[in-house]
């Protein structure tokens, strides 16, 4: 499904307007969930998006990132200590003006760490840009014959079977709750990824309000919002995310 270019100003305006109100921690959490979902979704779908869609999606992600970064900044300026599980985006840190220091005064350890962290974040931001440019180049180089279905990947069912015809085997109970074996927060993580198309149905969390559209005509942004809402376990955040989804859908339908 293509994102409609006409929605972009709407999204941008929404993001800008949201920045004008004083943010709360709940806002930050909701924004963080949306951003992570968007990044994950983009990563999964990037190769299936047409050039225009990809650009729009990237712009959307950048918008989310900026919004979260600015809200983080605002919270900090208000003297709110941000919880450790809020991951303020790198771009924000790059925009922070260097601390004004007396050159004669030596830096404390934490100041020095802060400076080095900022340097690292700046490097990460630059590297992100490099990779985005490279991805744009990849898309530009994609042969036309590859079409929308991805660059050269075989068509679905090319393994000689399709759908239910495929053989299957159990997963040794590993689809059950594996929380006791989940990676601790202290572990080196890797981003969550999509499984192959052979995966079973997506688990849909309950708590969906009644007035939510069925999502059959969602564009990428709506899909993103919906997914974030479905997967959120915090009832308050879930409610906010559904609300965002509903508003967005209303906005797109009135266009």
């Amino acid at each position: 499904m293509r994102i409609r270019l006409s929605y972009l100003p709407l999204i941008t305006v929404c993001i800008s307007l949201a920045c004008t109100a004083a943010p709360t921690l709940d806002d930050l959490y909701a924004q963080q969930v949306m951003l992570k979902q968007a990044e994950q979704d983009y990563r999964q779908r990037a190769k299936f998006l047409a050039g225009g869609e990809a650009d729009d999606y990237q712009a959307y992600i950048v918008g989310l990132r900026d919004r979260l970064a600015q809200d983080c900044d605002a919270m900090r300026l208000n003297g709110v200590a941000l919880p450790a599980d809020i991951d303020c985006p790198r771009q924000f840190i790059r925009q922070v003006a260097p601390l004004e220091r007396d050159p004669n005064k030596s830096l404390t350890e934490s100041e020095r760490t802060e400076t080095l962290d900022a340097e690292l974040e700046a490097g990460l931001g630059d590297y992100d840009e490099l990779l985005l440019r490279e991805q744009a180049r990849v898309k530009a180089d994609r042969p036309r014959s590859a079409g929308e279905g991805g660059g050269g990947g075989l068509a679905g069912g090319a393994d000689g079977q399709s759908g239910d015809e495929a053989g299957s085997a159990g997963t040794d109970g590993q689809t059950a709750d594996a929380s006791d074996e989940q990676m601790a927060d202290t572990s080196i993580e890797r981003p969550p990824v999509a499984t192959g198309s052979g995966g079973g149905k997506q688990t849909v969390a309950s708590g969906q309000p009644d007035n939510i559209p069925d999502g059959s005509d969602d564009d990428v942004v709506a899909r993103q919002l919906r997914k974030a809402a479905e997967q959120e376990t915090d009832p308050e955040l879930k409610k906010k995310l559904w609300e965002e989804y509903r508003k967005y859908k209303q906005g797109t339908q009135s266009q």
Binding site: G123, V138, L154, A158, Q174, T203
Partner: protein, 400 residues
Amino acid sequence: MNTGNAILRVWWLAGVLLLTACSATHQNVREDTQVQRSDSEVVESQLLDVWITLFDSGELPDDEDDAKGLSIEIREAEARYMPLLLRDTLERTGYWGAVRVVPGGTEGGEVRVHGTILVSDGEHLELMITAQDATGFEWFRHSYEAEAMLEDYQRTAATGRDVFQALYNTIANDLAQHRLTLSQSEVTNIRRVAGLRFAADLAPDAFDGFLDEKDGEFSVQRLPAEGDPMVGRINAIRERDFLLVDTLNGHFDNFHAEMQDPYFQWRKTRLEELEAMREIERQARNRKLLGAAAIIGAIAIEAMGGDSTRASTGSLRNMMIVGGAYAIKTGFDKDSEATIHQDAVEELGESFAAETQPLVVEVEGETHELTGSAENQYQQWRGLLRRIYATETGLIDAAQ
């Protein structure tokens, strides 16, 4: 039995077991092998990422006839093309996390799959596949062999399915079978080891002693403390590492898309020519044999028959000799026709190699450029992480 003998026997037995364990097994792939899919979604914490290294191109056949129309340039293209088919197959099974193709020598990944092309001529495909997890444990080392007929190419032309898809399905099934033997804690351990190996590579000072390595196998000794800021930094860099691999796969996808049609056509046309050549060679051989038999028969009649027989069969013998000679001649003519097909096979190979070589050079250049920039960047980050670690732990000298 004395103790010395007993020890020797134990060592011998251990040696045999080790050799058995290390040696590769061989499978002739059934053409109707279907890929096994997970019947339910695997929870994210139990997904393992698979990195498939670009294959080794292997060696061309020693036999000149077998090697006709093949070249190392084509093999190099195949070594980049085939891992993508395996990747696409694995992605569809639902057993794995991200499945990506990576350049040779790339460190990382939770499950690593490596292949070597043993035989590939469009008619036969034989691959040696090794699978290993991040702990260094080798899952298996198998060779897979499959054969394709001209009809297979005709049948799959419209579907986009590779004629050797059954071979990739079999590899995917073997990987899935091994995955199913792993317990949840084993999967978690593999993921942790992969993460810590990445961390130790980037910040060896900060992650010293978290892993133990013995004979190429890694085990977790301890985990980072809760809230360790260094973990956050490593995760941020690791995220970029995945993005880098994704970007590389974009280039590989483009390569695949450009190579798919010409590769299919080359293999199909090559097989057509080979089959035509074999048919002509068979006819030529038969004609020569018939001709020779006729001549021999004529001579035998002459030698063994009496005067009356020789007199009465004179014209028949002449006809047999002349006919035999003609049959042999046409046999040789057929050989010339076969040579035309041989030349066609050669030309097809040269033409396909010329077509793919720029593609290989291009994707190789892009890979080098990207991994080169990444390595420079990682080197800077290594230095930065070292300074941060030194600052945080009070090692001021190192931080300066």
